[in-house]
């Protein structure tokens, strides 16, 4: 479905379901140079099991208008404005990688109308989300090199063998980034690299938080997620074995099952 905000059109995948105002909503936010389709299995489950599922394309990504942003705060403000009609009802935020920072910032934004945020799931999260200079330079000057680095670093195994029949996850992730709009990978990585707001956002977040990480994540090491989780009284952490940063593809059932349990436990 298309959502309008300030004369721009933004896309949200709903698994071809009509949005039902009577249902709680799970909002999925993708990471750097990705789009809604990274959540296909998880969002589709919620859409068919008693929730509205909205897997959005961030500005300048996928089928959404606008330009990518170089700050997490900018994305979070946009998310809260776009999701305004849903934020007055019970809803859950789920973000991956850069999307996890956006969700955290959006949840902690005291000015946002988000009193009914039921839960926050941060997948592939770490703070600080420092980006290696070699990657940032490549993203600015030689994006194909950046795509290759991120693709390799994002997978626990370089040889695949992932659960989605017929798909080569490494190639799929590379192509998603390659299909992203010019400059998106650099602005997104810049947003991750410069974001400092996590402690304040965590302080302003009242709902339960799930940190979900791959044990072999080299992009967002799980020890950093664990350190953050340990500091927050309403946080818990779940670790997925044999899994890197591309959790939704490498362990779709693991992510899905963790989200189901957590979201159902926190209605």
């Amino acid at each position: 479905m298309k959502l309008s905000l300030e004369q721009q059109q933004y896309y949200a995948y709903t698994a071809s379901r009509e949005v039902d105002p009577a249902l709680d909503t799970v909002i999925f936010v993708h990471g750097t140079a990705m789009d809604h389709s990274v959540w296909c299995h998880q969002s589709r489950f919620f859409a068919y099991h008693g929730y509205n599922a909205l897997a959005i394309d961030l500005p300048g990504h996928g089928q959404s208008d606008g330009d990518s942003m170089d700050s997490i705060e900018g994305y979070a403000r946009w998310l809260n404005e776009l999701m305004g009609p849903w934020l007055g009802r019970r809803h859950h935020l789920v973000g991956h990688s850069m999307g996890s920072l956006i969700c955290l910032e959006a949840a902690g934004d005291r000015h946002a109308k988000a009193p009914l945020l039921a839960s926050l799931s941060l997948v592939g999260f770490c703070f600080p989300m420092t980006v290696a200079p070699v990657l940032l330079d490549a993203a600015r000057d030689r994006p194909e090199e950046a795509y290759a680095m991120m693709t390799q670093w994002s997978h626990a195994s370089p040889i695949g063998g992932e659960p989605n029949p017929g798909f080569w996850s490494t190639g799929n992730q590379y192509r998603l980034m390659e299909n992203s709009r010019h400059g998106a990978v650099f602005t997104d990585l810049t947003a991750c690299n410069t974001y400092q707001g996590a402690p304040g956002a965590l302080e302003g977040t009242n709902c339960p938080i799930l940190f979900l990480s791959g044990i072999q994540d080299r992009m967002a090491p799980c020890k950093l997620a664990k350190r953050t989780a340990d500091e927050h009284p309403s946080a818990e952490i779940a670790l997925l074995p044999d899994c890197g940063h591309n959790l939704m593809s490498e362990s779709p059932d693991g992510v899905r099952d963790a989200l189901i349990r957590f979201i159902r436990e926190n209605p």
Binding site: S37, F167, W168
Partner: protein
């Protein structure tokens, strides 16, 4: 953090798509010879069928052994995914049936495999899908043949049997100017000799029967999706961009930004037409893939020896191989196929049809049969076998004369192949005189 390198071809050929079986530790890919899979409970079953979770429900749709092959070929081609089919012909049919409806049109190279020609020329028109055949070397003719209802351009990297080299970058650009995909049969070249996606191809098909398997033991096909083509932006592919009543109103290009074609091909094409690959076939093709680069290097090296030999024979009228300077596509082949122009080529013996008949029947190591891409060397007379349904005019358009002989060079000792050819040429000359 050290900068990562992409996993290289030979490693992918051996490993991509497989982790050792967690229960048994089996190093080889197990053959999951099963039709179906036990569901954990009703919700598990429902979620599999509704694509809420990945996995296997029924082997017509997917199978663990077949999935390893699909993933491995996709990795070697640097695509986003693949679909294995019962044959190369099934792969071509699946691509067409996924992309178009009655009323659609295909622009095809005229230099294609006879079986593909049959499908496009004679069979698909019964279902309302027509094709125009044009010389793969005539880009203007390809352009002129595109109509508003054209839904793909189809060709082979190396045309069959004349080895016409399709100018992939130019034809891909032409296709994309018209909002349609370039679908390429890369059977003769394999991902080791060329990756057509590097030159703008959108969908690759292989007859896995040939070099991918490499041992002449099974029949199979594979489709690989590049993941770059924007089906929605094109506006010409409602099967991929409009809600599909046959699968919960799913819009495949919303479901997967990169794999819409693969999803529809599997969820409709394999489901309804059913031309899936068997797990045992997939195992044999996987065994072949493990040695693909080693075999292709040897195929090409042996081919070069045979070409050199044939060129020196008085009885040989001409040899058609893109690495020869006199071949019309020599420069294009040097650019697109630096590792070699394959191991299948044609030549013409002086003395016409009778000399050709005696030659073929005199060979002792070369096997006279209708196949290519075997580890064993093969020979065939196209005009009376693979292309026998084509008219004389169509044969000439495809670069085939009545005396054309096609060789598929295998992995034997090249000296033995040369002795076999020498003997057969001698006998054919005696017969002709």
């Amino acid at each position: 953090m050290p900068q990562p390198t992409r996993t290289r071809f030979d490693t992918l050929a051996l490993h991509a798509g497989q982790v050792p079986d967690p229960r048994t530790g089996a190093r080889a890919v197990p053959i999951y010879q099963t039709a179906s899979y036990v569901f954990r409970d009703s919700e598990h079953a429902a979620s599999l069928f509704n694509m809420e979770r990945p996995g296997h429900a029924y082997s017509r749709l997917s199978n663990p052994t077949v999935s390893v092959l699909e993933e491995r070929v996709a990795a070697l081609e640097e695509g986003v995914g693949g679909i294995a089919t019962a044959s190369g012909q099934a792969a071509l049919h699946l691509a067409i049936a996924t992309l178009m409806d009655a009323g659609s049109h295909i622009v095809s190279s005229s230099a294609i495999y006879g079986g593909s020609h049959n499908l496009l020329q004679y069979t698909l028109p019964r279902f309302g899908i027509t094709a125009t055949f044009v010389s793969p070397r005539d880009v203007d003719a390809i352009r002129a043949a595109i109509r508003p209802e054209t839904r793909m351009i189809f060709g082979e990297v190396l045309g069959n049997p004349g080895n016409d080299v399709l100018n992939l970058p130019v034809v891909a650009e032409l296709a994309h100017e018209h909002g349609i995909p370039l679908v390429i049969d890369s059977t003769f070249t394999t991902p080791y000799l060329i990756r057509p996606f590097d030159y703008g191809t959108d969908i690759i098909m292989h007859s896995a029967t040939k070099f991918l398997c490499g041992h002449g033991t099974v029949i199979g096909g594979v489709l690989v999706d590049n993941g770059r083509f924007n089906w929605e932006q094109s506006g010409k592919f409602p099967t991929l961009s409009d809600p599909y009543e046959g699968f919960h109103q799913m819009s495949f290009d919303e479901e997967s930004s990169t794999g819409a074609f693969l999803l529809r091909a599997r969820r409709e094409g394999l489901r309804d037409f059913g031309a899936c690959m068997s797990p045992t076939t997939a195992f044999y093709v996987l065994q072949g893939l493990e040695t693909l680069s080693v075999r292709m290097d040897r195929h090409v090296a042996n081919t070069r020896r045979v070409i050199e030999f044939l060129q020196d024979q008085d009885a040989v009228e001409n040899v058609s191989y893109p690495e020869l300077p006199e071949h019309p596509d020599y420069h294009l082949a040097q650019s697109l196929l630096p590792r070699g122009a394959g191991a299948v080529f044609s030549f013409t013996l002086k003395g016409g049809r009778e000399a050709g008949r005696v030659f073929v029947e005199s060979l002792q190591i070369f096997s006279h049969l209708a196949n290519v891409g075997d580890a064993k060397s093969l020979v065939i007379h196209p005009a009376s076998t693979t292309h026998y349904r084509m008219s004389e005019a169509d044969l000439l358009e495809a670069g085939i004369s009545p005396g054309t002989i096609r060789l598929s060079i295998g992995l034997e000792d090249a000296d033995d192949l040369l002795e076999d050819l020498s003997r057969a040429i001698h006998r054919s000359r005696k017969a002709a005189s």
